[in-house]
């Protein structure tokens, strides 16, 4: 039995007086889980993720992250919706950033940075600038930067929403492979049912106004999955189940006409 690595206990977040973005969210995530936060826009999934990262203070409640036994410069990494790279720095320097901020010298960091860049298949582009890369490649750099400190927890905030279908499905497979190889605990925010079902071992369906957990669905299919499963009837059944749960949480005005 895996111990809980992230625990949220009645966590709430208010913006101003009127908006209750997250309302008494209670959740326990175990080490090694691949969890998706799935929901319509405005359901507080990104807000919840930022609170777990410590980038937004909670209004009420507690978030506990079990401290790591191993030493690491950074235990928790975050991948934003945009690649969020420094345009003035090369791919190498972008990936080196977390180690540089932790005080690791360039020569000491060199092999680790190179390994992280190789892991996402961009070795040939180490000296390129972000503007010379495609959207998918930039996102790979962002993932390499997240992995370079060898974190235990990876938080991803709709990272592939802006990418085309082919790139997105390729990156989906890469993320699952990396999560498995590195033994990561992943929280993946998305509004795509198919992405959530394909990637996750568990889907947290969230509802809006106020943002809250509407359903906690475990996906039983063996993980990691392969491309064949994406086009199998089993996938459709799972997607339909998750989709039905999601629809049940929607207000009438959540659906764009």
């Amino acid at each position: 039995m895996n111990p809980a690595i992230i625990q949220m206990d009645r966590v709430s977040r208010r913006f101003g007086k009127m908006v209750l973005a997250v309302d008494k969210m209670t959740l326990s995530i175990n080490a090694g889980e691949f969890v998706s936060f799935l929901g319509p826009s405005g359901c507080g999934k990104s807000t919840a993720l930022k609170m777990i990262a410590g980038l937004l203070p909670v209004t009420a409640g507690t978030i506990t992250i079990t401290p790591s036994k191993e030493k690491s410069e950074q235990d928790l990494a975050f991948v934003f919706q945009e690649p969020t790279l420094m345009p003035w720095a090369t791919v190498f320097n972008n990936v080196y950033l977390p180690l540089r901020l932790a005080g690791v010298s360039r020569s000491e960091a060199m092999p680790r940075v190179k390994a992280a860049i190789a892991e996402v298949g961009l070795s040939r582009f180490a000296t390129s600038y972000p503007r010379e890369l495609s959207g998918g490649m930039k996102m790979r750099v962002s993932i390499a930067r997240a992995l370079v400190t060898r974190p235990r927890i990876l938080l991803m905030d709709e990272p592939f929403a802006a990418l085309d279908e082919m790139t997105r499905s390729k990156l989906n497979n890469d993320v699952v492979r990396l999560a498995k190889d590195y033994g990561l605990t992943v929280i993946f925010v998305t509004h795509s049912v198919f992405e959530a079902v394909y990637l996750s071992t568990r889907v947290i369906v969230m509802a809006a106004r106020p943002g809250r957990v509407a359903a906690d669905l475990a996906l039983e299919t063996a993980w990691p999955r392969n491309e064949d499963w994406r086009v199998s009837p089993a996938f459709s059944i799972e997607a339909r189940r998750v989709s039905a749960t999601l629809k049940g949480t929607l207000h009438v005005d959540d659906i764009d006409h």
Partner: protein
């Protein structure tokens, strides 16, 4: 349904027309200004000669060139004075603007308390303050320097403040996540983010420092040994030495062009490899 994979690899025909057009455009980009400028000067020379305009009204370009050569040594001394004044004031504007801008960006209270002073300095015409400065400050050079500095300082200050504030919000979050120290944040995030704004402010301030130097000298009406090009212009106008006025004017604009070229070059050097404003598009 059948699928055909295209694997043949013929050398594609080269678009020679496209290459020729690029070459032509490159040639035109420097040929056109040279041709128009030369034509304008030639026209000027011809009009002066044809209508026999006296040299105390409008001197011909050839006469201005002769004056430049004849009065070269004395004009060069004045030009050097103006160059020193301009670059000294620009350097001080950069130092002051960047330091104060960084302070403003780091602390809201400091900005709120000092910003009114910066605005007052900016909106009051330097011509109006200059006589006072000349009364209070003994050394003429120092007084002129202060005037030119006031003009050039504000663009650098506001460029630095806006630049330091323009860092991407997600990148700021990233630096927070990795527990960057304030120094690391400034060095690796805020300063590079501020560079585009700073460089465009520098282009403006470069031109303004020359204007400041010239205007201040006009107001000061300084005469004597240690004076710049503006004094030469005033002095020549008193003596109705119009060709000499033009010669000094040519030197002032050449100095302005040199400053513009220098700041543009610096901007390209600093931003060329990453910022949209300086990246050359291939058509």
């Amino acid at each position: 349904m059948s699928t055909t994979l295209i694997t043949e690899d013929h050398a594609a025909p080269v678009n020679t027309e496209q290459l020729a057009r690029e070459k032509r455009e490159k040639l035109l980009s420097w040929l056109m200004p040279v041709v128009t400028l030369s034509t304008a000067v030639a026209l000027w020379e011809w009009v002066v000669w044809y209508y026999a305009i006296p040299k105390y009204l409008i001197p011909a370009p050839s006469l201005i060139a002769q004056t430049l050569i004849k009065d070269g040594p004395s004009l060069m001394v004045s030009a050097w004075f103006t160059v020193k004044l301009t670059f000294f004031s620009l350097s001080l504007a950069i130092i002051g603007g960047v330091l104060l801008g960084a302070l403003f960006a780091l602390s809201r209270p400091i900005e709120m308390s000092l910003f009114p002073f910066a605005v007052i300095l900016q909106v009051t015409p330097v011509v109006a303050i200059a006589p006072l400065i000349l009364i209070y400050v003994d050394s003429t050079f120092a007084a002129l320097l202060i005037c030119a500095w006031i003009v050039a300082f504000f663009p650098i200050l506001s460029g630095t403040v806006i630049g330091l504030r323009s860092a991407d919000h997600n990148l700021r979050d990233l630096f927070t996540l990795y527990r960057a120290t304030p120094w690391q944040r400034l060095r690796y995030l805020l300063a590079p983010s501020a560079l585009p704004q700073f460089m465009s402010a520098l282009k403006v301030a470069g031109g303004l420092s020359l204007i400041g130097a010239v205007v201040a000298e006009f107001v000061a009406g300084a005469a004597g040994q240690n004076t710049g090009l503006a004094s030469r212009i005033i002095e020549s106008s008193f003596r109705s030495e119009i060709p000499r006025m033009f010669a000094a004017l040519v030197l002032v604009s050449m100095l302005g062009i040199a400053i513009f070229a220098l700041t543009t070059w610096a901007s390209r050097r600093v931003l060329g490899h990453w910022h949209e404003s300086e990246i050359r598009r291939e058509h």
